[in-house]
Symmetry: C2
Subunit: 126 residues, 2 copies
């Protein structure tokens, strides 16, 4: 099917699909007139990309997963390279969580301390 219908079915914009192709994920074959042609199986690839993007992956991060699916695996994470990305992202998330927790603690302390001297007093909840 062509890009318009495929985009509707996949739930993404045609712009996104062209961008994915430009970035080397999901390269559609072309019909004689130059139009992109997608097949049913590509829906799965798009779904994988969308799922990964929503959990904070970049398109570059998602590439191994798409390749893994195209290689015939049942899941995009089944390949060694995908697992490596998983581990790296997991480490990144852990690091981010640590940072945020530290910030949270510090900010809560700041807020408590500042309000001691608040001239307007506290404002209650909303």
């Amino acid at each position: 099917m062509r890009i318009g219908e495929f985009a509707r079915r996949a739930g993404v914009s045609t712009r996104s699909l062209r961008y994915y192709e430009q970035q080397g994920l999901i390269t559609a074959r072309r019909s004689a007139n130059g139009y992109r042609e997608y097949d049913e199986g590509d829906l799965r690839l798009v779904a994988e990309i969308r799922a990964l993007l929503t959990v904070g992956f970049t398109l570059a991060d998602a590439e191994p997963f798409v390749a893994c699916l195209r290689a015939g695996n049942a899941t995009g994470g089944a390949c060694a390279e995908s697992a490596a990305v998983y581990r790296r992202k997991l480490a990144e998330i852990d690091e981010e969580i640590r940072t945020l927790l530290a910030r949270r603690t510090e900010m809560a302390a700041q807020l408590a301390g500042s309000c001691t001297g608040c001239p307007t007093g506290r404002q209650g909840e909303k």
Copy 2:
């Protein structure tokens, strides 16, 4: 003092100082020739901005804190508006932490599940 020396003393680039001014924070007075003139007290304002930026504030978020300091308060967080920003950022951080924790859990599960079928097995730590 002029911007060059001030920047060195504050530990930021002149570019940043001009940007802060453009965004409405730390507007330096001008000497006859048009050069920006900063004084000692402004160092404190820059320090406040840098501290807030490093914990994830935007310049817009930092504005009340700078204003608060300029109003003569001992800390930038002593004013009501600053406290409101604190509360908002705290809520944002909490939300972000929740999101990341959920992701972390899901990804860890994915990684574990994927590795069951990993042809290369696990690689130990590092």
